[in-house]
Each structure stands twice: as structure tokens, then as C-alpha cells.
Symmetry: C2
């Protein structure tokens, strides 16, 4: 059973979170995803939905996966040194770090992607390249794995990345069962990225 | 601007909701999705996430779209005459009704799908056929439109249905822009249902 720390903040992108976390949440024998935010309590998505979270200070997992979504709220947080310091503390101890969309750019501000391959949302790809030029940003990729870090493109790419992560850690059959049960047409090839050249 | 009443209940399926509602929520000039439940307050998803809702009694929209997700919580509600009566009241006045996954089966218990074509989750398709045999259940369909009612297959099929609904009401370009921005590989053909024959 793997604990998953889902990092939320105001103006997170709802589907960045609830695509991957839907799958993890269904696999109750394998994963325990829990929602956390800096100060706990209700956090509001970019679509104005309020979701309950626990505070970072309540985290007491010895082992865990760190999951970081994107959303317009990442803009302010890339300049928030207190938040970034806490995010880095959490990431250093994580078995794996998974990021979706602009969550990749937010995570890159910890410095932990420097010299590594990563990807992000294609419409604001330039923002990552400008913000953290030390990262080897890969434009044409549905998702990228480098070491224990998985980063994905925008929003629903997070679902494909999550299925790949499950396939690589627990086996292809478990991932395929999930994609069939949620009736998701799984893009299994990380190089198949039809959105890379749109923007 | 169209209001959308999103019907939540304990043990709703998170991605049934936050796929479609992500898209509606992004289109702030066109849609106003709000989360409601029978009694309001925090409602818990099948994945144990708590989301804030307002009570059905607070609904004061003159015009609206009714959105009904699925999830294991639908089992009990198909036997809850008070809930079904309220759901029917809301549906009768709706401009459109959109259902996802077992939300279709829940909605069918209002009687409003009798004699109409509809679809649902493929893994529990037999349940709909048994529960409401007066519905013309269509097994091989990503989604089905009959009159002002759209019903979809399981979970992520709701995203494809939502994009089709937007395309038919606001034009193809608006829908395509959304699918590109959330980097969703839109299955635009309702007859392309790779999951119909799996179960």
C-alpha cells in the first residue's frame, strides 16, 4: 500500500487532480491518496469548487509518492519561497514525484528538475523554458520519466502518465484493467503527443 | 450563460464529475456549473474526497442544465423515492439533462428515459437493463443523444459527451478549443466505443 500526498492550493486545475487521483483512489489495496495543502481546510479549484484538505503539518507518512497538479494557482506559488521550501522537503523524501501540466513548472522551482528531462502543458510551454532554463524541457512528449520523477503534459495527459506509472510499478495488467474500467482510451506511447505542435 | 446543476451524493465517482465540470468550469462566459446535493454540505466521493455542496433547496435558477454523475452511491439512491422524486422535479424543468456512467441508470429510475435511447457504463450494463427494461439501452455507444437528454458510457466517456454537447450547442470550434487546451484526445464519434464488447 503506497500513500500518495496530493498537493492542493487555491486555483488548482480540477481535472489535473481528479483524473490521476480517480485511478489511485479506485485501487484501494495498492494506493492511499490523501489531499493536503499548506494550511489545510477548504481549497478552491480554478473552477471554483471547494475541496477539503489536511495541512502539510499533519503529514506523517514514512513512505509516500508526491503528486503535484497544475492550474493558474501555480503562478503565485512559483514566487512563494516558503511554499517551495516545503515542497522541496516533501519531494526529497518521496519515493516518486508525479507532476501534471503546470505542476511540472511549479516543481521545477525547487531546483530538483535541473539537468533532468521533463515536460509540461504545451500552451504555456514557453513559461517553463523561461522560468527554469536548467531543466531539459522536452516539448513533444505526453509524459517523461527521469529517475524517480514523472512529469506530464496538460490535464488529461496526467491520466496516461498515471497509467504508465502503475504499469511500470505494479504491472501492465493492473493499469489496463483500470483504463478499461474507467473506459479511458489510454495513449500508451509517451512519444505520441498530438498537442506539441499546436501552440 | 447557462447554469449547470451538478448533482452530487455520497460515493459519487470523482472523475465522472470533474471531467465534464472541468470543461464547463473553464468556459466562464458560457457556463456556470455549481455543485448541489440533497442536504448540502460536504459530500464524499467514492475515493473518499470531500467536496462542498449547496442544498437542493437553495436552487433558484430559472433555466439550467442538469448533470448527473455515477458512482457506487447510485445503488442506494435507485431505491430512494424521496431523492428520485426531487431528481425528477429538477429534470422536468431542465433545458438539457446530461448523465455519465451509472448516473444514467440512476436517472432512468425517474421514468424519464422510458421509450428513449440511452447508454451507461459497460461493466454494469446488465444492471440498467434489469433495473429499467423500458429504456432502449444502447450497448455500443460512447454516448447517446435522445431529444434533450445526453447519456454517456463510463467515466471518461463523459468528457467526450460533454465536448459533443458543447459542439452541438455552441459550435465545433469552441469544443475543439477546449479539447486542445486540456490536451484531451477527443473521441468525436459516438459510435466508436472500444469498451462495449469487453464485458
Amino acid at each position: 500500500m503506497k500513500n500518495i500526498i496530493v498537493v492542493l492550493f487555491d486555483n488548482f486545475e480540477a481535472l489535473d487532480v481528479f483524473g490521476p487521483v480517480e485511478i489511485f483512489g479506485r485501487m484501494k489495496e495498492d494506493f492511499n491518496p490523501e489531499l493536503f495543502s499548506m494550511n489545510g481546510g477548504l481549497v478552491e479549484s480554478a473552477q471554483n469548487f471547494k475541496v477539503m484538505t489536511r495541512s502539510f503539518s499533519e503529514i506523517n507518512f514514512e513512505k509516500y509518492i508526491l503528486f503535484i497538479p497544475g492550474g493558474s494557482g501555480t503562478r503565485a506559488l512559483t514566487k512563494n519561497s516558503q511554499f517551495l521550501s516545503k515542497l522541496k522537503d516533501l519531494a526529497v523524501k518521496a519515493e516518486n514525484v508525479l507532476t501534471v501540466c503546470t505542476g511540472s513548472i511549479l516543481f521545477s522551482k525547487t531546483g530538483m528538475l535541473d539537468g533532468k528531462k521533463a515536460t509540461s502543458n504545451k500552451r504555456v510551454f514557453f513559461w517553463g523554458e523561461k522560468e527554469t532554463p536548467g531543466v531539459n524541457w522536452v516539448k513533444k512528449a505526453r509524459w517523461v520519466k527521469d529517475g524517480n520523477i514523472y512529469t506530464s503534459s496538460g490535464v488529461t495527459a496526467g491520466i496516461d502518465m498515471t497509467l504508465a506509472f502503475i504499469s511500470e510499478t505494479l504491472g501492465y495488467e493492473k493499469a489496463k484493467t483500470q483504463s478499461n474500467e474507467i473506459e479511458h482510451i489510454w495513449n500508451e506511447n509517451p512519444d505520441n503527443d498530438p498537442f506539441a505542435e499546436l501552440y
